[in-house]
């Protein structure tokens, strides 16, 4: 089976790049805010979202 390894350093770089992109790009920031809103709403109604 193919294996992709993601190192701790790559994860740190991804977080830095993400913060920079959120600061720089208004459309991306709005999209991410909407995504976080969806996650919060789904968390609040978890039983409706996740079928038993």
């Amino acid at each position: 089976m193919p294996i992709i390894r993601v190192t701790k350093k790559q994860i740190e770089e991804a977080n830095k790049a993400r913060q920079a992109a959120l600061k720089k790009d208004k459309e991306f920031r709005q999209h991410e805010e909407q995504r976080q809103r969806l996650i919060r709403e789904a968390a609040a109604t978890k039983e409706k979202v996740q079928p038993s």
Binding site: I4, K8, I39
Partner: protein, 164 residues
């Protein structure tokens, strides 16, 4: 022999794992396809709990998908992982990406695996195979992975995460 239970499994019909604010994994789909006949019609895909990606809408593999302007136009799956509740325990994550490829060679599927910092892997999806593994070394920080549809006809079946 006993098998390890997945910490979470995300599928098209069950895309949300939430145990706590820092123990969550969420799948987002930004564009998938369907046709008029089985196995790629909407009803079949719902029944088999899969997303279908059509070659006609594959993204250009030469673009840089860390750029939002490129990513927003691509057929893509996003996975948001925040498992920081495990960080102190020095845990890692094994993520199994499950797929089916519709046609034999030369119609291998292709998916570009990105983080916000860059391309992690240009993954070929071979007919008859069903999964590849992503090993995530640290859970100290949240991580978003992007899976960009880049060739051929394939199905996404799900992502299973094993905290180990």
């Amino acid at each position: 022999m006993s098998c390890l239970d997945a910490t979470f499994t995300l599928t098209p019909r069950s895309p949300f794992y939430y145990s706590a604010l820092h123990n969550q994994a969420v799948l987002f789909c930004y564009g998938a396809d369907f046709s008029y006949a089985s196995p790629t019609d909407f009803s079949s895909l719902y029944t088999t709990n899969r997303f279908f990606f059509d070659a006609a809408f594959a993204s250009d593999p030469n673009l840089d998908y860390t750029q939002w302007a490129n990513r927003q136009k691509a057929r893509a799956l996003y996975v948001s992982l925040d498992l920081r509740d495990y960080a102190g325990a020095q845990k890692q994550l094994a993520l199994i990406f499950g797929f089916d490829v519709l046609y034999p060679p030369p119609w291998d599927g292709r998916v570009l695996v990105y983080s916000d910092a860059g391309l992690l892997s240009d993954q070929t999806l071979i007919y008859g195979d069903s999964q590849f593994l992503i090993e995530i070394e640290s859970l100290d920080l949240p991580l978003t992975l992007y899976f960009i549809h880049a060739n051929a006809y394939w199905f996404f079946k799900g992502l299973s995460g094993y905290v180990v």
